[in-house]
């Protein structure tokens, strides 16, 4: 791994190259009246080449090589072969590997667990969020604009602090348990399980479901609603036959915007799940930072990226024009 690293001066050469390039750009623009405007995009293209494409190539490189830099596919074996993963851990770390093995080496299981949690989170967000978006878009109530702001405000609070705030509600001596005891019930263990993690996910991602649906409902022509009623639809039928199909693009982009970050959730399981549960993001992080195994970590990252690309591809098919719009 070490001999692959570039010497320190290479960085400075790269940065100097960037500076020279920018200076040349400026000169070129000043000199040349007929310059093509498309060249304005070149600093950005260069930036992306260095900070997006090159890093992606690095991930691919590490995923396909072993510690000595030779080509191998064994890193992917860690993903599905738990015995192999266990033996490799012992081989590289010796006795220090024990805690990692205790936490489980079946990486496929972690992925399936993450997908399942993300699926549950998306379904819950949809079930809670759709009616909310529907009521927000209700023109007779005139609440839309105000509610959008009210939904955005909590998102301005730091994501970690918001999550930590839940701890003080859920813990054994927390508000919910105290209210329960005050009412004469038994206290319940709310923290440190999958339920708490799921709650944190729904809490953080719910607005991402509500906004796109609200946007697509808000764009809808109210006359369609009236027309359906004139043609004899009752309220339920109008909802089912007119409103829901028209809001489908919003639903799809909502699903995308909730599912993607849910699969890759990282940190939430550690705080609310107390480290009892691990999601795929945590797994990747521990491969890199705790075990220091970049090759396997890169292989797992690659698997996650491919998974995301596939699901995005499927969702794009369902909503080709991206009509659902974004959250803002």
């Amino acid at each position: 791994m070490m001999d692959l690293q570039l010497p320190a001066w290479a960085t400075w050469v790269m940065l100097a190259g960037l500076a020279v390039f920018l200076a040349m750009m400026i000169l070129f623009i000043r000199r040349n009246h007929g310059m093509k405007r498309s060249l304005f995009a070149s600093p950005y293209a260069l930036w992306m080449a260095i900070f997006t494409i090159l890093p992606c190539i690095l991930i691919g490189y590490y995923a396909l090589t072993d510690a000595s830099g030779k080509f191998t596919l064994d890193n992917f074996r860690h993903f599905w072969d738990s015995n192999y993963a266990k033996n490799q851990l012992y081989a590289t770390m010796g006795e220090a590997a024990a805690p990692f093995i205790k936490r489980g080496t079946v990486n496929v299981d972690t992925l399936i667990y993450s997908l399942w949690m993300a699926f549950l989170c998306t379904v819950i967000c949809l079930v809670i969020g759709y009616p909310a978006a529907l009521f927000m878009a209700d023109r007779q109530m005139k609440l839309g604009a105000t509610l959008v702001v009210l939904f955005i405000i909590p998102m301005w609070m730091n994501f970690l602090l918001r999550t930590i705030a839940w701890m003080s509600l859920l813990e054994d001596q927390g508000l919910i348990n105290r209210v329960l005891r005050f009412l004469g019930f038994e206290g319940v263990q709310l923290m440190y399980n999958s339920g708490a993690v799921l709650l944190g996910m729904v809490y953080n991602f719910l607005p991402f479901m509500v906004f796109p649906i609200y946007n697509s409902l808000n764009k809808m022509d109210p006359k369609l609603h009236e027309a359906a009623q004139d043609l004899g639809c009752n309220n339920w039928k109008t909802l089912y036959k007119v409103t829901m199909p028209l809001s489908l693009p919003g639903v799809i982009s909502g699903i995308t915007m909730v599912f993607m970050p849910s699969v890759t959730t990282f940190f939430l399981p550690r705080i609310l799940g107390g480290g009892n549960t691990m999601m795929f993001g945590d797994l990747i992080e521990s491969k890199f930072l705790t075990e220091g195994n970049w090759n396997v970590g890169s292989a797992l990252s690659l698997i996650m990226m491919i998974l995301i690309m596939i699901s995005l591809g499927i969702l794009r098919k369902a909503d080709p024009e991206g009509e659902g719009g974004s959250m803002i």
Partner: protein
């Protein structure tokens, strides 16, 4: 009947808002709690706020956070606006290519972006710290600026830039006096978006900085593992209120603008 339905709809929305605001409310109340315990109310006190300003780690993290957010917002706005102008005037093929490139960071999970940048910095032997965090933040900010500037460019009259050149304006002059004023609302939206994204980012910062240079998010993260100090409650209450005021001012401004228009 319709009144009853409306009541149900409103109560449903109220319940969701309660769900969203309850933890924040609890957190703010706790910041005024005299005792350290999260469970018991031991009287009203402001001493956590006083402690907050004495806490050097928090104050340094605040500086880093604001510094990174401001510089990243400025650089990414310049880079992104230029890029948007360039992309807009491209032919179809290269334009599609650049748009794919712009969408990569949006589709890539944060954790992969963070890790890939960490690999890059380790690979090139750049010591991780303020600069690397800044570079990472600029990288994930720029696409958002481009995506907020491009729609404004599409609304613009195609020929006004060429007209300015025909009338003898040098390209740089035309850029500043013809294109820029037209796309300004998009540029400002992009800059604000970049600033907020950068303020709120945790995952990418976590991988691209060293434990010596922390922003608020990474500081909170390491504090959360040790158990949260009430000073952090005070900090989050203050941040929340500051952002609320900022949001209200922005809202006021846009409302005024739309009245004028």
């Amino acid at each position: 009947m319709s009144k009853f339905i409306r009541f149900i709809k409103k109560s449903y929305l109220a319940l969701i808002l309660l769900f969203l605001y309850l933890p924040i409310g609890v957190l703010i109340v706790q910041s005024f709690n005299a005792g350290k315990s999260r469970a018991k109310w031991e009287g009203f006190s402001l001493h956590w706020y006083a402690d907050l300003f004495k806490d050097r780690a928090i104050m340094e993290a605040l500086q880093v956070t604001l510094g990174v957010a401001v510089i990243a917002a400025i650089v990414s706005t310049v880079l992104g606006t230029l890029a948007a102008i360039g992309i807009h005037s491209m032919k179809k093929r290269p334009q599609a290519f650049m748009m794919t490139l712009t969408n990569i960071p949006n589709t890539m999970p944060d954790i992969v972006t963070g890790i890939s940048l960490m690999l890059l910095f380790i690979f090139t032997k750049v010591e991780r710290g303020f600069v690397t965090m800044l570079l990472a933040h600029i990288t994930f900010d720029v696409p958002y600026v481009i995506l907020s500037v491009l729609p404004k460019l599409k609304q613009m009259n195609k020929h006004s830039y060429e007209a300015a050149l025909d009338l003898g304006a040098p390209p740089v002059y035309a850029l500043f006096h013809v294109i820029l004023p037209e796309i300004m609302p998009g540029v400002i939206t992009g800059a604000m978006l970049a600033f907020t994204l950068s303020l709120d980012d945790f995952v990418i910062s976590y991988f691209t900085t060293s434990p010596l240079v922390q922003n608020l998010s990474t500081l909170i993260y390491s504090a959360a593992r040790r158990g949260i100090e009430p000073t952090l409650n005070a900090l989050s209450a203050l941040m929340f209120i500051a952002l609320l005021i900022l949001l209200l001012i922005v809202n006021r401004r846009t409302a005024d603008n739309s009245k004028k228009a």
